[in-house]
């Protein structure tokens, strides 16, 4: 035990004496949470649209004033002919064009039927469908309003309630994802370079001739980083609540416990990378570049997992961030208890133990 403690102390000195790296490790999560928490959202707001009004009458004007104040649209310019639409799209500014045909108002009054054409720039399919839906909803609302006085028989009224997130804030689904992403990257990277650095600097030899068991060396390396990560968890949670306005509806201690579990998993993963690589450069490249895109894309916060083809859905199961993202959503946003997330907790625990065992096993007691 004494041996173990002195090893932990040695690792602490390592970290504390490298001020620049420590600063990066503690500062990076803060910057990232704030930056991405605010900036990343899959909502579509302030999309620039153009209007081609061939009729210029009371009704088109009314519809235009319906569209203008919406937070989804910014009317950027007016077009004068069909040909201009393509030009407007090609110069890249406009996302949607609203076309009113000739005699819009007259058709609406005399035939009770008029047409609006929406042309979307579908090079971004997500934005295109969303914008078309928003615009349709606004036009439909307008239609409902002008027909209001003539009540029709056999009407179905629907009442709609938004659960958990009545203001439909994008942060509610993105902040848990950003939390998972930041913790994953920082924790994995921290331990990924520890073992391999000793190899590269030659200090590994000193440790290998000591009577310390590999198990102890590896675990002792994780302990100080776990404490660092606790600070990171605290700062991330504080920022999410007080800066990003995402509530913690569930039990705070459960959330912290789960975060520590996830952190341990990532630290263990970093240790595995570290004991199986030969140079710091490779270790960092794997833990940063290799992990970044898969974590972002396969953890489910950016793109829904249920839409992916089967092989990717299977692969996504080995991404720890996916499980943690689910847990955070359940506990933090929905306010559920341990009973709702015990399965995911079990999966993370299993991953953590597996990775830790693997890294102890891969830890070579002979130098190459």
């Amino acid at each position: 035990m004494k041996q173990f403690r002195s090893f932990v102390r040695k690792e602490f000195y390592h970290i504390l004496r490298d001020k620049r790296t420590m600063f990066i490790l503690l500062g990076m999560p803060i910057v990232q949470i704030v930056l991405f928490g605010f900036a990343l959202t899959n909502e579509v707001k302030n999309a620039k649209i153009a209007i081609l009004d061939q009729s210029n009458d009371v009704s088109t004007l009314a519809l235009r004033t319906e569209l203008a104040p919406s937070r989804y649209f910014d009317i950027e310019r007016d077009l004068h002919s069909y040909k201009n639409i393509e030009e407007a799209f090609q110069s890249g500014k406009i996302r949607l064009a609203v076309v009113f045909p000739k005699n819009f108002d007259a058709d609406l009054r005399h035939f009770n039927k008029a047409q609006v054409q929406l042309i979307a720039d579908a090079s971004d399919p997500n934005v295109a469908t969303t914008l078309v839906n928003y615009a349709t909803a606004i036009i439909m609302d307008y239609q409902d309003r002008i027909t209001h006085d003539r009540r029709l028989p056999y009407t179905i009224n629907t009442e709609l309630r938004m659960l958990y997130n009545p203001q439909m804030k994008g942060a509610y689904s993105f902040v848990p994802g950003v939390m998972a992403m930041v913790l994953m990257l920082v924790c994995t990277m921290m331990t990924a370079i520890t073992v391999v650095r000793e190899k590269e600097m030659g200090t590994m030899e000193v440790m290998l001739v000591s009577p310390v068991k590999p198990m102890k060396i590896v675990v002792a390396k994780a302990v100080p980083y776990l404490l660092l990560s606790m600070i990171n968890i605290a700062s991330i949670l504080l920022l999410s609540v007080f800066v990003l306005d995402v509530p913690i509806r569930g039990n705070l201690f459960l959330l912290i416990g789960e975060s520590v579990l996830f952190t341990l998993t990532c630290l263990a993963f970093g240790l595995l990378i570290s004991s199986s690589t030969a140079s710091q450069q490779t270790a960092m490249f794997i833990s940063l570049t290799g992990m970044f895109l898969p974590t972002v894309m396969l953890s489910g916060f950016m793109f829904p997992i249920e839409n992916m083809p089967l092989p990717l859905r299977i692969i996504s199961n080995i991404v720890p961030a996916k499980w943690f993202y689910y847990i955070v959503k359940e506990v933090m946003i929905k306010g559920l208890g341990f009973a709702a997330v015990w399965k995911e907790t079990l999966v993370l625990t299993g991953m953590m133990l597996f990775l830790l065992t693997m890294s102890v096993k891969r830890f070579k007691i002979r130098l190459a």
Binding site: A120, P125, Y154
Partner: protein, 372 residues
């Protein structure tokens, strides 16, 4: 000129004799290009629906089958209690709950009016919004059908109706891969440029070989050109490979001209390499260079409009996207590949990126010192 030739020879040997670099340059980007676009499908479909039917009437069943027939919804469960449906929502097994109250059919026929209740899991606001939107338009359709059965309509529409038709240009099948592949390709080219260039120079510092160069009569600009040109060529090679892959694997053939893409890429790589160079002059060892360039890359990628739309970001984040070279290349790639924009359309982008290149490279050259 002769000096430069020798330096280039040295750099290319160095790159091609390191198998790890070859793997990083060629295999990893290609793997990512093959795998990742499949994950990036944001289309809202397969919305999980849970129906609570208290009515069990002919009308309620018809409504449910109309909803499931639309293709957007998948009926997860059909229960008689709201509590059970809520449990499904908690377990993420249902996104939407439709509650049909008892007496739905009777009220609709006899009282001319009936209510329905929809609860949406709104944690993912966009999915919730779209799902509820689809459901409401199906409901309106259904309502219209019911009316038709009971009322003989006159020849003209009694209901005032605005017909909204929509068409999707440039990508009529709404294929998300057309959107993602050009973007991911940009990221890969950028990573090769910024990462490798900065690491390469820092490594010379770390292992001390830069001393040897510093004592030779090699001029500062020779040394820097010798470092930039190989990675500039490699970046263009990665881009060509990526475009080939996009063509044969995803069937994406640029609508615009390849000349525009490569012309822009040539200028863009200058800016990215300048960034790598700058990083290397400010850092002392590979670890710091890695951390710094990774941090910058992460910000650049996530704030480039690759995944999320720039229009929706808050003002200060939009300002960051303006000083982010990646934003410009992604926009240009999408414009040229999908819409066929030409040099005239991308001129503002090209000039901006050229400006970045000049500023970053000048800064880096001024900051690089030939003594330690």
């Amino acid at each position: 000129m002769r000096t430069l030739k020798f330096l280039l020879q040295k750099e290319f040997r160095q790159i091609f004799r390191d198998p790890a670099i070859i793997r990083i340059i060629f295999i990893m980007p290609m793997m990512q290009l093959i795998l990742l676009p499949w994950a990036a499908d944001y289309e809202v479909k397969n919305i999980q629906l849970s129906v609570v039917d208290h009515d069990h009437s002919d009308y309620s069943r018809r409504l449910v089958s109309k909803i499931t027939a639309s293709g957007y919804f998948r009926l997860e469960n059909y229960t008689g209690s709201f509590a059970e449906a809520m449990k499904a929502v908690e377990k993420d097994e249902a996104d939407l709950v439709l509650e049909i109250p008892a007496g739905f059919e009777k009220n609709l026929v006899k009282e001319d009016e009936a209510g329905l209740f929809i609860a949406v899991n709104a944690i993912n606001g966009v999915k919730a919004n779209l799902g509820a939107g689809y459901l409401r338009s199906i409901m309106q359709d259904y309502n219209r059908e019911v009316r038709m059965e009971w009322i003989q309509f006159p020849r003209f529409n009694p209901e005032l109706q605005i017909d909204v038709t929509s068409s999707n240009w440039f990508n009529p099948l709404l294929n998300y891969k057309y959107f993602m592949v050009p973007g991911i390709l940009v990221i890969l080219v950028t990573m090769v440029g910024a990462f490798l260039a900065s690491l390469n120079i820092v490594r010379e510092k770390e292992i001390g070989t830069i001393e040897q160069i510093n004592v030779t009569p090699v001029k500062k600009h020779h040394f820097i050109l010798g470092k930039l040109i190989p990675f500039w060529i490699l970046g263009l090679v990665v881009l060509s490979l990526g475009l080939l892959l996009a063509r044969f694997f995803y069937g994406i053939i640029p609508v615009g001209s390849l000349l525009v893409i490569f012309g822009f890429a040539a200028v863009y790589l200058l800016a990215v390499l300048g960034l790598g160079l700058l990083i290397s002059t400010y850092t002392g060892n590979q670890q710091q260079a890695m951390l710094l360039s990774f941090f910058l890359m992460m910000v650049f990628i996530l704030l480039s409009g690759l995944y999320t739309s720039i229009d929706s970001m808050p003002g200060w984040a939009q300002a960051i996207t303006k000083i982010n070279p990646v934003t410009y290349f992604i926009e240009v790639m999408r414009m040229v590949v999908l819409k066929g924009s030409g040099f005239r359309d991308i001129m503002p982008h090209l000039l901006t990126v050229l400006g970045f290149g000049v500023v970053l490279n000048t800064w880096a050259v001024l900051h690089y010192k030939k003594r330690s």
